[in-house]
């Protein structure tokens, strides 16, 4: 179909993007790989020589490693579950006729515009603070003992904060998808007297599968590297240390750049496993 001419034109048009991204990926990747085999500790004078696989065994041998993987998966999984379930419900709701739809939509998407640092600060201090937080006032109002969110419910707190930020994104994509659903088909099923749940399950959900896939894919990419929300709230304490945070702790706080770089390589491997896994289950949905 495409001519020889347009093929080479295509290549030229793609060249800048591919070159830039290749450079952006290769330079840091090479640097990370190189450093991961060095005993590089700036505080001790910099590069102290070849380290073999020492950094790799040490990083994985640390008592924090496996918990950090589990924490990463819980946070990513939790946020995905919340944003997709509530995103679908919210999209269904926003699709229905109502007064002031535009205003509601604006309110729902607003959290997406808030900087992660700001949203973490606001949630932590003004809502989840055990003494002055609004939630603790609410708890006390109902006669309950306020929850100490950041220690007792640390993972849940972070999942709530991150979900709040990403719910608008999921809702918007799902809403566009719902709006494209063929109205006649739905009306026909309504005439047939199909119950609401069945209608949702057999018509709406399959129609949304593609949009859900996309939400899953894009959010996973962003969620694997969340950092500010943890840095600001718990600083990695109370079982909230993700792999990204552990790497930060090794490189910045311990100033063990070689060790942290080995962690970086593990993170790339994890990301690719997740990506391949996602592609497997969702890939067919994307064509």
């Amino acid at each position: 179909m495409a001519t020889q001419h347009s093929r080479s034109a295509a290549r030229i048009m793609m060249a800048p993007a591919v070159t830039l991204l290749l450079g952006w990926m290769l330079v840091p990747l090479t640097a990370t790989l190189y450093l991961s085999f060095r005993d590089y500790r700036p505080m001790r004078g910099g590069d102290l020589g070849f380290a073999g696989f020492e950094n790799y065994t040490r990083f994985i041998g640390s008592s924090s490693f496996w918990p950090s993987i589990v924490t990463t998966l819980i946070i990513v999984g939790g946020v995905l579950a919340i944003t997709i379930v509530f995103g679908v419900l919210l999209a269904l709701l926003l699709d229905r006729p109502m007064w002031g739809q535009g205003v509601v939509r604006i309110m729902v998407i607003a959290p997406f515009f808030v900087m992660p640092t700001v949203s973490a600060l606001v949630w932590k201090n003004m809502f989840m603070d055990p003494t002055n937080g609004l939630l603790s006032h609410l708890w006390r109002f109902f006669g309950a003992e306020p929850v100490v969110w950041m220690s007792e419910q640390s993972l849940l707190s972070i999942i709530i904060i991150v979900s709040w930020q990403w719910l608008p994104f999921a809702t918007l994509i799902l809403l566009t998808a719902i709006q494209s659903l063929d109205g006649e088909q739905l009306e026909a099923s309504e005439m047939d007297g199909a119950p609401v749940l069945a209608r949702f399950w057999y018509i709406i959900l399959p129609h949304l599968s593609r949009a859900i896939t996309i939400v899953l894919l894009i959010q996973t990419i962003f969620l694997l590297s969340i950092f500010a929300e943890i840095f600001v709230t718990t600083g990695g304490a109370f079982g909230t240390k993700t792999l990204t945070y552990l790497i930060f702790q090794r490189i910045i706080e311990s100033q063990a750049v070689g060790l942290g770089s080995a962690g970086g390589v593990y993170a790339i491997i994890l990301a690719n496993i997740v990506a391949i896994f996602l592609m497997r289950i969702v890939g067919k949905n994307l064509d």
């Binding site: 793609m14 006729p97 509601v104 894009i218």
Partner: protein
């Protein structure tokens, strides 16, 4: 969807939707309200919602401490600059992937997305040293470049999904008529792709505006954006809810306002190919 509903149903929908909408928006609303309170009223028990002594004092304190307009200006330059540059690089790439796809197109797209998964902190040292050596520390150029590269995969992917929805037959027909590549772009791409490009642009401005790792680590004073501004308020001494709220409101207000004015464009295009 044009479905007939009764007034009662519509009222019920409205009530539920407004409740949920307000609930989701509440943290932002509360932050904005708190920014106009005194520190004492900010932590009052029971909390005061509207009937407090409105004051601009917190904004004055924050403004006195840091030159807000300077940070704001840098945020604008960096987010708009990186988005425009990103679009210049991404549009041709996405265009060609959408209209002359090869067997590897999908692999290339996936690979591009996977570059986003490298943890940023892992390459802090190499990039920091590189930026210093090239004299790009604390410069807009360095940040525009880095943030453009971080978001480029998303830009390309988003554009690719729009361009693919442009019917290929129209292009074929244009080519039959002997349209050149230039004409193809000007007369076909532009009108059909503008909604998609607009929405991509908006999403990327938001992402760039909120990027907080590189913007703090690669700046000092001249290029420091609002993310650096907020980093000086995260744990001040003593009572600080009202001042924190004022600083937070100042940091998010511009992007929030932009988002509200452009939400139609953003929503229209934010599909990532979710609709077929």
């Amino acid at each position: 969807m044009a479905r007939s509903v009764t007034k009662q149903q519509k009222a019920l929908n409205t009530a539920i939707a407004w409740t949920i909408g307000l609930l989701i928006f509440f943290p932002i609303l509360w932050t904005i309200l708190t920014s106009f309170k005194s520190e004492g009223q900010a932590i009052a028990d029971p909390p005061i919602f509207l009937f407090f002594d409105w004051t601009l004092e917190n904004y004055a304190v924050v403004q006195e401490r840091s030159n807000y307009t300077n940070f704001l200006w840098n945020s604008i330059i960096i987010s708009v600059g990186s988005t425009v540059l990103g679009l210049i690089v991404a549009i041709p790439a996405a265009w060609s992937m959408a209209f002359t796809p090869s067997k590897r197109t999908k692999d290339i797209l996936m690979w591009m997305l996977s570059t986003k998964m490298l943890p940023a902190v892992g390459v802090l040292y190499p990039i920091y040293i590189g930026a210093t050596k090239m004299g790009l520390m604390d410069s807009h150029i360095a940040l525009v470049l880095v943030i453009m590269l971080i978001n480029l995969p998303i830009i390309i992917w988003m554009l690719y999904t729009y361009f693919r929805e442009i019917p290929g037959e129209i292009l074929e027909a244009a080519r039959m008529d002997g349209a050149s590549l230039k004409e193809e772009i000007i007369y076909i791409l532009t009108p059909m792709a503008i909604p998609g490009i607009a929405s991509t642009m908006l999403l990327n401005i938001i992402l760039a505006w909120n990027e907080a790792f590189w913007t703090i680590n690669l700046t000092v004073t001249k290029a420091a954006p609002l993310t650096a501004f907020i980093a000086s308020y995260s744990s001040p001494e003593g009572l600080f809810y009202a001042k924190l709220s004022a600083a937070s409101t100042m940091a998010i207000a511009p992007i929030l306002i932009m988002g509200w004015f452009s939400q139609k464009q953003l929503v229209r295009g934010l599909t990532f190919g979710a609709v077929k």
